[in-house]
């Protein structure tokens, strides 16, 4: 019998198992729950204190900003948007991978997603929180920022629905809510597991509330699966819409370098690229520190690297296309904007962007590099840097030299710009570390679903 089975298997392309090692249902539960239940490793505390102090610094910087005004930034007359908007677009981009992994890959039945979807989604939510911070504080009069919301009021004025900034509010707001909901729905069975395992009354109470009375009944599972599928269906268009809309902030304007129709797809590709890079940056240390190599396997990293290669190349294509269109259009302002990017005063930023976003991902053509942890880690960090610079190049180089040369100027970030950028990472990592500590970072129920035991035909030989 055993021989027959081996023979038969040889006729199929054998896919590497999604979970390595001798895991079964209970070891999975044990492995993942114990991270939340036991004392965190000492590194966690250090990392948390570090991120938290950066977060406090961000608070201080924001307080100073609100006190003094946007003048503390390096903005000037042609360059009305600086780091704040760059950071906003960057974080929204980071926030792309989560929903893509959980929703789109779910719909495409990509089972490997189960190992990374939970914390990719968490990352999404925290990145969107970081992103939402910036449009809020970048306006000149923060205390009336609510004018942007379509709230019935006595002033008799509605927001201007023609403005892409308003579209942003709807697009990013919707994305945030749906992602949060999706993440939470996926968490319910795992929260119930934690509730059932804990010995602490407080935890039982908190997890009990959060798990909404989950009893793992067949009926629950049926409703859950349906809700999850529907949310996945809802989220999928959002993955495409949110960054498309964000890109209209630029595309709708008439500034050379902003006014291009290629922006929506190009921004989405870039967002997926940066999102996966960030997942990789986070997953590599986490799997090592928490000993999760058997669940987040090298195979997962390999697949993510492939996606980065695809999206990175798409981004590279878009960069080339921008140049082509600028030349082909015959619009001199447009062509100058792009030549100026490549050889003008911001050429340094442009070439950082090209190296990190176009050249570095090309390493992933090679399987050895795709499966080398150090290469993956460093390349993913480069991709993050590159994507930040992409937004920097788009926002700043276009603004600094537009139509009338008399108003050209050079933008230099102030110390507050830089502190707020660093501080936003503090906010992100603070939230992320809290997530690692209190919420199962891997979807236990879903990983169990991809174990061989979960297959009803497990053990059958046909």
């Amino acid at each position: 019998m055993a021989d027959t089975a081996t023979d038969k298997q040889q006729n199929y392309i054998v896919e590497a198992p999604l979970v390595e090692g001798n895991h079964n249902f209970s070891t999975i539960t044990e492995k993942i729950s114990s991270i939340v239940e036991s004392k965190p490793p000492s590194g966690w505390l250090i990392a948390f204190l570090f991120s938290f102090s950066l977060f406090l610094m961000l608070n201080g910087a924001i307080a100073y900003l609100l006190w003094e005004g946007t003048g503390i930034w390096g903005l000037n007359n042609p360059v009305g948007w600086g780091f704040a908007i760059v950071n906003f677009v960057f974080w929204v981009g980071i926030g792309h991978a989560g929903t893509l992994i959980s929703a789109v890959l779910f719909l495409f039945r990509q089972k490997w997603r189960t190992a990374i979807n939970r914390f990719a989604e968490a990352m999404t939510i925290f990145a969107v929180i970081c992103a939402l911070l910036f449009p809020g504080i970048h306006v000149g009069r923060v205390w009336v920022a609510y004018f942007m919301f379509p709230i019935p009021n006595q002033m008799g004025v509605w927001p201007n629905f023609r403005s892409p900034l308003l579209w942003d509010i709807f697009a990013v707001g919707t994305y945030f809510l749906v992602s949060l909901l999706f993440w939470y729905v996926g968490l319910i069975p795992d929260l119930a597991t934690l509730r059932d395992r804990t010995t602490s009354k407080v935890k039982r109470f908190v997890y009990g509330i959060l798990s909404l009375g989950w009893r793992s009944s067949n009926r629950h599972w049926q409703n859950y699966e349906l809700a999850y599928l529907m949310l996945a269906g809802l989220s999928t268009p959002l993955v495409l819409s949110v960054h498309s809309i964000v890109s209209t902030d630029f595309a709708v304007s008439l500034l050379p370098g902003w006014h291009t129709t290629i922006f929506p797809p190009y921004f989405v590709a870039g967002a997926i690229f940066s999102g996966f890079a960030m997942v990789m940056t986070l997953a590599i240390p986490v799997r090592k520190i928490y000993g999760l190599e058997s669940i987040i396997t090298i195979g997962h990293l390999d697949k993510m690297a492939k996606i980065m290669l695809v999206t990175g190349s798409m981004v590279g294509y878009a960069y080339a296309m921008e140049f082509f269109i600028a030349w082909y259009s015959g619009n001199t302002f447009e062509s100058f904007a792009f030549v100026n990017r490549a050889v003008g005063p911001y050429a340094w930023a442009y070439w950082i962007m090209i190296s990190c976003n176009v050249i570095v991902p090309q390493l992933f053509w090679f399987k050895t590099l795709r499966t080398s942890i150090p290469v993956l880690f460093i390349a993913s960090i480069f991709a993050n840097i590159g994507m930040w610079f992409e937004r920097f190049v788009i926002v700043i180089s276009s603004l600094s030299r537009d139509y009338l040369p008399s108003s050209w100027d050079y933008y230099t970030p102030s110390i507050w710009d830089i502190l707020m950028l660093i501080g936003s990472f503090g906010l992100f990592f603070t939230l992320f570390l809290l997530f690692l500590r209190f919420i199962p970072m891997i979807a236990m129920s879903e990983v169990k679903g991809v174990l061989p035991e979960a297959d009803p035909h497990h053990g059958d030989v046909h």
């Binding site: 005004g69 306006v139 000149g140 920022a145 304007s253 003008g344 040369p405």
Partner: protein
């Protein structure tokens, strides 16, 4: 005070005069101004009130931060005559500057002068102003003015000063007075009285920007003290030699008015004057020139001599030939001189040779002789007697310095001159060791005030009665608009105190013969009109033949000079500043911040050098250099940052005077009190010379940051940018030679046609349906680039009218200047001899405004009259509108720039325009407050608006009449007429923004024989 009837009713809205009643001066001002007027609510604090306030403030601690405290305003109990709250009054008065004076109309809100416009009937202002006149209103409210008389730098009072004056024995010979020149009949009367009373005393008159050479140069030929007035409207060919008659000139407004008259082109048939400019500096006049030839400062002699010879050769046989050993000019210049001579002779009696005030007197004489032979005198140039003026006299000043150095002086009376700033380097010892008592009438606690025994605050001209004469002889009244804000006295009162009298300035005025002889009704009318009608142009001196002897005398002097000339390698050329003038506007922040129209530098002076000089000495912008000079065996040195400017002669360093006046300030202003002193360049200048040749230059290791608004960080030395600008200039600035225009009158469309842009705006496709603009009035503006000299008057007028904050040097360096009008300046052609183009750009009020579409809160919207409005209350400050503005004319309040505006400066604000808070976007509104005012007036008068009802602030200020504004639906309106001209064009038309402000193209009128010189293509640079 009879006021000008503007016959207008404005909106009944007014603001309390003070925001806080905590300053003593303000309180006294209010009491003085409204003796029976307002009663302010007194704020007394009771225990109960204190507790309730504390409770409330704790409860609302989070809320109160956003709101200003409530101000209570009570109505007048007994209303002052003529004052209707919210409706400004207009009074005529006069501002003197140098030997000229300008008639002005001052807008006064509830007794508080706020804005200055030209007096349309006054001969020397003709309804317009220049930037100094406009900005002078800020000097009235200067918070750093001296407020009480100071005795040895301690606050004292006037009575003590009077007592001291009357008790101190006055020995004639040990008394000296130092003053500037003046043209006031009353001051002149007092001066004569003084000289009679103290016959052996010294009275020195010193002007840093002096007309002495002009007057004495003419005197040498005509034997009379005269000043010329140029009538450019009657001339076809104008030659300026170092004369900035359109810029820093005593009669600049008259010059601009008449110049633009013969410069303006409306149709193909219109004539246009031709301006040749020969100069060693770069001036506004030079930027306007059709042919500008740079010379070194010392070459003016040679140039005029060769021109003289050329003229004589070409037909002016009466001109004597000057012997020149060897011409210092190259072929290009030789040709230019020949063509110029030909052109001048061709336009005999229709040309003008204008030469700079500072040039030596022989050259003034020579220019006069040439004008005489060209039949220009009495036709295009009239000469006016200056007998009644107290003229500047360098000799008297030198004598005074000598007397001071000899230690024989007991009392020195200084009338509003910063003695220490100007002369301390000429003294042999500390002045306090040389002169026993110094009495100083001045307005600021400058260095002179520190060494003075008595410092007496001087009244601003809007605070005192007086009189003035213009160069053309118009007698004007200086009428106060407000009681003195501080315990100050006028110059006349001060002199009267020196005479032992104590008479008020009004009585002093009335005692003067010209006014005492007038009946009260004539006097009253004169005050109402601002000037005396009958006396105008009576001082014209008809020029007769010139005596041969004096002519020969002059020629021999020039020959003498030319044969003895010795010149070092490096020349420092001194000039008057466009910002601080001769230093008197040091504390006027409007003028200081307005970028110089040529260098685009604000706040400070620099050492200007040419590109080659920079390369030779290995200098870059902002490097600090040390300049040494030996004067009378003494070494002097100064340090100044350099700035590279195309179009100035090599091996020449241009230094602006008047900076570096140290003042003690009463009020520190956060955004302004940066390091903005500038450099005092006077120590290396020989008194009386406008250039010095024995200069050595050395580079220091230091750099000094310069706030320049147009070439940030030297961007434009970059080839990429320079090439791009070259490509864009033909689109941005459309220009043509006048001859080409006559052949091709729609040349402005050439560029568009090449780029396949439709001729008409309406043919550009748009996604959005256009607004309905069919019903009038539809506001529009037109700016004639052909007559704009970039003098900044519009920009300052806008600042005054629209309460635009001053932001300080650091903010300007950060690129955050707030001025609503940006004066763009471009260089074109050869980097050594560039051509210039100027373009004022304010909000263009696009019909398809890109800013409106992107504002998320609809804070910027269109009204049905075509105005692109800003609702400050609604603006949340996303700055998206500014990003999307292709003209970059929106200005953002990055900080709360007005929070520390001193109370007294707030009084200069126009109450019809709101103050913008931090975080709010602002921009040109087309003076919407003036539009509303005009509409209300018309409605009250039950009539329709007519053309000319609305005049915007920049338009009235512009002496060149480059700006027209009005209803574009009305085909007969001035603006429609301008817009219908074939050379009217839209800036960045292909963007389909449909701006309401359009430009009239620039013309150049080169001499046909010199055209190829001008067209030599070089690198096109913009700086």
């Amino acid at each position: 005070m009879p006021q000008i009837k503007k016959n207008k009713i404005e909106k009944t809205y007014w603001r309390s005069l003070q925001d806080k009643m905590d300053s003593k001066e303000l309180e006294s001002f209010i009491v003085n101004e409204f003796p029976k007027g307002t009663v302010e609510v007194s704020e007394t604090m009771t225990r109960k009130k204190f507790l309730s306030l504390m409770g409330a403030s704790m409860a609302m601690a989070g809320l109160v931060g956003c709101r200003k405290p409530v101000q209570k305003i009570l109505p007048y109990v007994n209303a002052p005559e003529d004052i209707v709250p919210g409706i400004p009054n207009y009074y005529a008065t006069t501002m003197s500057m140098g030997l000229n004076s300008f008639g002005i109309i001052v807008e006064s809100h509830e007794g508080r002068p706020t804005h200055i416009e030209g007096n349309p009937n006054h001969a020397s202002s003709k309804g317009s102003i220049n930037s100094y006149v406009q900005a002078s209103i800020l000097d009235l409210y200067d918070p750093d003015r001296v407020k009480t008389p100071m005795y040895n730098s301690e606050s004292s009072n006037l009575t003590n000063f009077k007592n001291e004056l009357s008790s101190s024995p006055q020995d004639d010979t040990s008394i000296a007075v130092l003053s500037g020149s003046f043209n006031s009949p009353t001051t002149r009367r007092l001066y004569d009285k003084f000289r009679k009373k103290f016959p052996t005393s010294t009275w020195a008159t010193f002007d840093l920007k002096s007309q002495e050479n002009q007057i004495s140069g003419l005197n040498e030929v005509v034997k009379e003290d005269l000043l010329p007035i140029y009538h450019f409207n009657k001339s076809n060919v104008i030659l300026s030699i170092e004369s900035d008659f359109l810029g820093n000139h005593d009669n600049s407004i008259h010059n601009q008015k008449t110049f633009s008259e013969s410069r303006r082109v409306k149709t193909k048939e219109d004539k246009m004057n031709r301006l040749y400019c020969v100069e060693s500096i770069l001036t506004n006049t030079g930027m306007m020139a059709d042919h500008r030839y740079k010379i070194k400062p010392n070459q003016a002699y040679s140039f005029l001599a060769e021109l003289n010879n050329s003229l004589s050769q070409k037909g002016l046989y009466k001109l004597k030939k000057i012997n020149i050993k060897k011409s210092i000019f190259d072929k290009k210049y030789q040709k230019f001189i020949k063509v110029l001579a030909k052109d001048l002779i061709k336009n005999k009696s229709k040309s003008i040779i204008a030469i700079g005030d500072e040039l030596p007197r022989e050259l003034h004489s020579l220019a006069f002789i040439m004008n005489q032979e060209l039949n220009n005198n009495n036709t295009t140039i009239t000469y006016h007697s200056t007998n009644d003026f107290l003229k500047p006299s360098l000799a008297s000043t030198k004598e005074l310095i000598k007397k001071i150095n000899s230690g024989n002086l007991d009392s020195l009376y200084i009338l509003d001159i910063d003695f220490v700033h100007l002369f301390s380097h000429l003294l042999t010892d500390k002045i306090t060791n040389l002169v026993t008592n110094i009495y100083y009438l001045g307005s600021h606690r400058d260095l002179t005030s520190k060494i003075s025994r008595w410092m007496i605050p001087k009244s601003h001209y809007l605070e005192a009665w007086g009189d003035a004469t213009s160069i053309d002889g118009t007698m004007s009244i200086v009428q106060p608009l407000i009681s003195p804000l501080y315990k100050s006295i006028s110059t006349n009162e001060f002199i009267s105190l020196l005479l032992g009298d104590d008479v008020s300035d009004y009585d002093l005025l009335k005692e003067t013969e010209i006014w005492s002889s007038k009946s009260s009704s004539v006097f009253k009318k004169t005050i109402h009109d601002g000037y005396l009608k009958s006396k105008a142009s009576s001082n014209i001196v008809n020029i007769q033949k010139i005596s041969i002897k004096s002519q020969q005398n002059i020629y021999s002097k020039i020959e003498n000079y030319l044969s003895n000339e010795k010149i070092g390698n490096l020349i420092a050329r001194f000039t008057i500043s466009n910002q601080v003038y001769d230093g008197r506007y040091t504390n006027n922040y409007w003028l200081r911040e307005a970028p110089d129209s040529i260098t685009k530098i604000s706040w400070e002076n620099v050492a200007l050098i040419s590109i080659k000089t920079a390369k030779d000495n290995n200098l870059k912008n902002s490097n600090v250099i040390k300049l040494k000079s030996k004067i009378d065996m003494k070494e002097f040195e100064i340090e100044a940052p350099v700035w590279i400017l195309p179009g100035i002669p090599n091996d020449t360093i241009i230094l602006e005077m008047g900076y570096g006046r140290e003042l003690e300030r009463d009020v520190d202003r956060n955004y302004i009190d940066e390091d903005v002193l500038g450099v005092n360049v006077l120590p290396i200048k020989e008194i009386g010379n406008y250039y010095s040749t024995n200069i050595t230059l050395s580079k220091t290791q230091e750099t000094h940051k310069i706030a320049c608004t147009q070439d940030h960080h030297g961007l434009d030395f970059e080839k990429l940018a320079a090439d791009e600008i070259e490509g864009r200039l033909p689109e941005i600035i459309r220009e043509s030679n006048i001859e080409d225009y006559r052949l091709n009158d729609d040349f402005v469309l050439d560029y568009d046609r090449k780029k396949h842009i439709p001729d008409n705006d309406s043919d550009l496709p748009s996604m959005y349906p256009s607004h309905d603009y069919s019903e009038g009035p539809q506001w529009g503006m037109n700016i004639d680039l052909n007559v704009c000299s970039g003098c900044n008057a519009c920009s300052i007028a806008c600042q005054s009218e629209n309460n635009i904050p001053v932001v300080g040097k650091q903010q300007v360096m950060d690129g955050r200047e707030m001025s609503w009008i940006r004066m763009d300046r471009y260089f074109k052609g050869d980097i050594e001899n560039p051509e210039f183009a100027l373009q004022p750009v304010a909000c263009l009020h696009c019909e398809n405004a890109p800013c409106e579409q992107v504002c998320p809160v609809a804070a910027t919207t269109h009204d049905k009259e075509g105005l692109n409005g800003m609702t400050y209350n609604r603006c949340i400050g996303t700055r998206y509108c500014a990003n999307n503005c292709p003209y970059k004319v929106r200005r953002f309040n990055f900080y709360n720039y007005t929070y520390d505006t001193p109370d007294v400066v707030q009084m200069a604000n126009n109450p019809d325009v709101s103050i913008r808070f931090r975080g709010v976007m602002e921009k040109c509104t087309f003076c919407v407050q003036r539009i509303s005012e005009a509409k209300i007036t018309a409605k009250n008068e039950k009539r329709d608006l007519i053309d000319g009802d609305v005049k915007v602030a920049c338009q009235t200020a512009c002496a060149m009449d480059a700006i027209t504004f009005g209803d574009i639906i009305d085909k007969n309106s001035e603006v429609s007429q301008a817009k219908s001209l074939s050379h009217d064009y839209t800036l960045l038309k292909e963007l389909n923004t449909k701006p309401r402000t359009t430009y009239l193209a620039k013309f150049r009128n080169p001499h046909p024989d010199l055209v190829e010189d001008n067209n030599k293509k070089g690198i096109i640079e913009h700086h």
